[in-house]
């Protein structure tokens, strides 16, 4: 029973990190029909920024905030510099560019910070908590992960549902031509969308680094699971990203715990194949087979 509880809590923690990555992928997919393979690499970069500041013994929260701000900036720059020239070109082009960017950013990170693994001091203790007399594999830092991802999701929900900026972003994602006609500067909103997506990724990066070890390709497996989560959720839906992330996290945690950690990747693949064969459009897709 204790094992089950530990696996559940652990799965939840990782699941929310996958959810943040999935949210970043969903935001970009919705707005531009691009799968941003560079999402993980950009998050690694922002995490290195945080690590560098922590090495200079700056306050954790300063480093945390700077990493997230760097996410906004890197995202906006990626859209402006690399994506902007590719709109209206064949759909595959931007995807190929994001893969190129993934390799480029990871190499740059390796060149600057070296490719050896390093730790990242977390904000809170990573020691398991004891509830009553039971020791749980669940720390204060894990609680911080849960809270910060849920806050991120809540802010995004408020932004998209209840602000005019969010409304314009939804309008531009659903019908860019009509939105333009109504006076919406769609291009500018795409920049904002990429910035927010990379912001979500940056949060995932600083949260996951203390659990894994920081290295230039730290985010590669996280991106794969985040992608699985996004697809599970239907790629179109931020709520789907959250649910997909938690399901993926729990699924992988149970598989790893009961079947052995070598089965984790296989398990994620099987999960994805099963869900996609039952519901090809994902669990939460708003519209079926929308082509642009």
């Amino acid at each position: 029973m204790t094992l089950f509880i530990d696996l559940t809590l652990n799965g939840l923690t990782y699941g929310l990190i996958y959810a943040a990555v999935a949210l970043g992928l969903v935001l970009i997919w919705r707005a531009t029909r691009v799968i941003n393979f560079a999402q993980g690499a950009l998050a690694t970069l922002t995490t290195y920024v945080a690590a560098t500041l922590l090495d200079r013994s700056l306050n954790y929260w300063v480093a945390f905030a700077v990493a997230l701000a760097a996410g906004l900036i890197f995202g906006a720059l990626t859209e402006r510099v690399f994506m902007r020239p590719l709109y209206g070109k064949p759909e595959l082009n931007p995807v190929v560019v994001t893969i190129g960017l993934l390799i480029l950013v990871e190499s740059v990170a390796g060149a600057i910070w070296g490719s050896t693994d390093r730790g990242l001091t977390p904000a809170f203790s990573q020691l398991g908590l004891t509830v009553g007399h039971t020791y749980l594999d669940f720390s204060s830092f894990d609680i911080f992960i849960l809270v910060s991802v849920l806050v991120l999701m809540g802010l995004m929900l408020v932004l998209f549902r209840w602000t005019s900026l969010g409304l314009k972003m939804r309008a531009s994602a659903f019908a860019p031509e009509v939105a333009r006609l109504l006076g919406v500067r769609v291009g500018r909103l795409l920049t904002v969308g990429w910035a927010l997506a990379t912001f979500a990724g940056a949060l995932a990066g600083v949260l996951v680094a203390p659990l894994l070890l920081l290295s230039p390709n730290m985010m590669d497996p996280v991106l794969v699971y985040g992608f699985a989560a996004a697809v599970l959720g239907g790629l179109d839906s931020p709520v789907g990203a959250l649910v997909g992330g938690v399901l993926t996290g729990l699924g992988i945690s149970y598989i790893g715990g009961y079947l052995g950690s070598s089965m984790e990747t296989v398990g994620a693949a099987v999960l994805l194949v099963v869900v996609l064969s039952i519901r090809p459009e994902g669990l939460f897709a708003a519209a079926k087979a929308r082509r642009v």
């Binding site: 932004l159 602000t163 900026l165 309008a171 939105a179 006609l181 769609v186 909103l189």
Partner: protein, 272 residues
């Protein structure tokens, strides 16, 4: 971006929109040939003509979708050139599309709120930071949008998604969206299409009620609507203006009758 009020202040001359000797040709075939007319602020102007006369091209040229091969479009004394699609709305020109063009993923009132973009006062940054001003602005735009829906008599559908609504209701929502920002000119591409005669009469009353408040340019082939509501009519045939004037003048013009009844063999071969 300066506030829209500042831009609105400039030069309110009688002829607010001028189409000046506009020619459009696609690969040697001229679709519009030296078309000139003007729309004064506050009047309802109809552009009519048989199928293939170039009505939709006129609409697209004014919108900036199609660039004229020669000639100019002048809006309040300034030539419209190289404007990006989003800019027209900020210059006080709104459009409704053939069909409906509502955004499927948004509710009716949200669709109208997107149309209120030219009068929105929040920027990206304050929106992102969720400043109180942004929330107040959101309420203001929503209230205006509800008013616009109210005016069209479809406020009860505000929270519903357009796809589930009957076509005439969708059409009214689209018109509310075009009117919400208080434009100086509304361009409507075939507003009567798909409506019953009762609904067309209702549309006519709406257009009449807009007279004086804003200019309306409708491109339409429903004669009943045009004759009943327009102050002036421009008749196109084979890309040329063949008549212009009040409904009565246009109706009495033999060239118009000929164009519509498809009389002479010469004019048909000339256009082909």
């Amino acid at each position: 971006m300066p506030p829209p009020e500042a831009k609105r202040a400039v030069n309110r001359s009688a002829a607010s929109l001028e189409v000046d000797a506009v020619t459009v040709s696609f690969g040697g075939l001229s679709v519009l040939d030296e078309v000139s007319f003007s729309a004064s602020s506050g009047e309802v102007l109809g552009v009519i003509g048989p199928n293939g006369a170039g009505k939709t091209t006129v609409f697209n040229v004014v919108c900036g979708f199609v660039r004229p091969s020669s000639g100019r479009i002048v809006w309040r004394g300034r030539e419209l050139r190289h404007q990006r699609p989003y800019q027209l709305a900020h210059l006080g020109i709104a459009r409704t599309l053939q069909g409906v063009g509502l955004i499927a993923g948004l509710s009716a009132v949200e669709n109208v709120m997107v149309g209120a973009e030219p009068i929105a006062r929040t920027g990206v940054l304050s929106g992102l930071l969720g400043l109180p001003r942004s929330a107040g602005e959101e309420r203001r735009l929503r209230a205006r949008s509800l008013e616009a829906l109210e005016r069209l008599g479809v406020a009860e559908f505000a929270e519903q998604h357009p796809r589930a609504l009957p076509y005439p209701v969708q059409k009214k929502i689209a018109i509310a969206r075009a009117l919400v920002a208080g434009p100086e000119l509304v361009l409507m591409d075939e507003p009567a299409s798909g409506l019953s005669s009762g609904e067309i009469a209702e549309l006519g009353r709406l257009l009449t009620s807009l007279r004086g408040e804003m200019g309306v340019l409708i491109v339409e082939h429903n004669m009943d609507l045009v004759m009943a509501t327009c102050d002036r009519i421009v008749v196109l045939d084979f890309g040329k203006v063949i008549a212009a004037g009040t409904p009565a003048e246009v109706q009495a013009n033999p060239a118009v009758t000929e164009a519509y009844l498809g009389a002479s063999v010469e004019s048909e071969s000339a256009g082909a």
